[in-house]
């Protein structure tokens, strides 16, 4: 999912390349699953009076996808910015559980 975390570094072994591709696909698939979960909860009322999507629900789903992508882009830009800052600062206080590598 290159739009999320920037370009890839050179990857040597075959197992590593497969693992990286697999991780990329898994990321996309997770993102889609969360999108389905989130957007159906936001747009589909829990009463189920009709089996079809009505106009309002359909439009809501479409806009929900657009906003979900926009949020993903903003968040990933923010996190890349912070990662770059941290690397620049080289050895600040932080880290915690997610500071590694």
């Amino acid at each position: 999912m290159s739009f999320l975390f920037g370009g890839a570094r050179p990857q040597p072994s075959s197992a590593e390349k497969i693992a990286a591709a697999e991780a990329e696909i898994e990321m996309v698939s997770n993102m889609f699953n969360q999108l389905v979960d989130t957007c159906t909860r936001k747009c589909i009322p829990e009463t189920y009076r009709e089996a079809d999507l009505n106009k309002g629900e359909s439009v809501c789903l479409d806009r929900c996808v657009a906003k979900f992508f926009e949020v993903n882009v903003k968040v990933s830009e923010k996190m890349q910015g912070e990662a770059a800052q941290r690397q620049g600062a080289a050895g600040g206080a932080g880290g915690g559980m997610f500071g590694g590598s």
Binding site: E22, E26, M27, F32, N33, V36, T40, Y48
Partner: protein
């Protein structure tokens, strides 16, 4: 741009196999989320051990609506993704 473009034929076959197992798993997860969601939203009477007619109707409409929603979301997801790939090569996957 994407890691997948750098795989050779053997590596692509191996990845393909894993993806098929993943698809099966994904389908099962989708199925059980669907059941759980619709059960949760539709079944609330525990004075009997059989589904009430109205509960069954609710579950069926819930499944329909959920499948249609997933399909629509899938289409929009792919469009958005293709659009991002065009604007500055930031697409997902290939």
């Amino acid at each position: 741009m994407s890691g997948m473009d750098m795989l050779n034929a053997a590596e692509q076959r191996e990845l393909q196999g894993r993806m098929e197992r993943k698809q099966m798993k994904d389908f099962m997860n989708m199925y059980s989320n669907l059941v759980q969601r619709c059960f949760n939203d539709c079944v609330n009477d525990f004075t009997s051990k059989s589904l009430l007619t109205k509960e069954e109707g609710c579950v069926m409409r819930c499944v329909d609506k959920f499948l249609k929603s997933s399909e629509r979301l899938g289409e929009r997801f792919q469009e958005q993704n293709a659009q991002m790939a065009q604007q500055g090569g930031m697409g997902v996957g290939r």
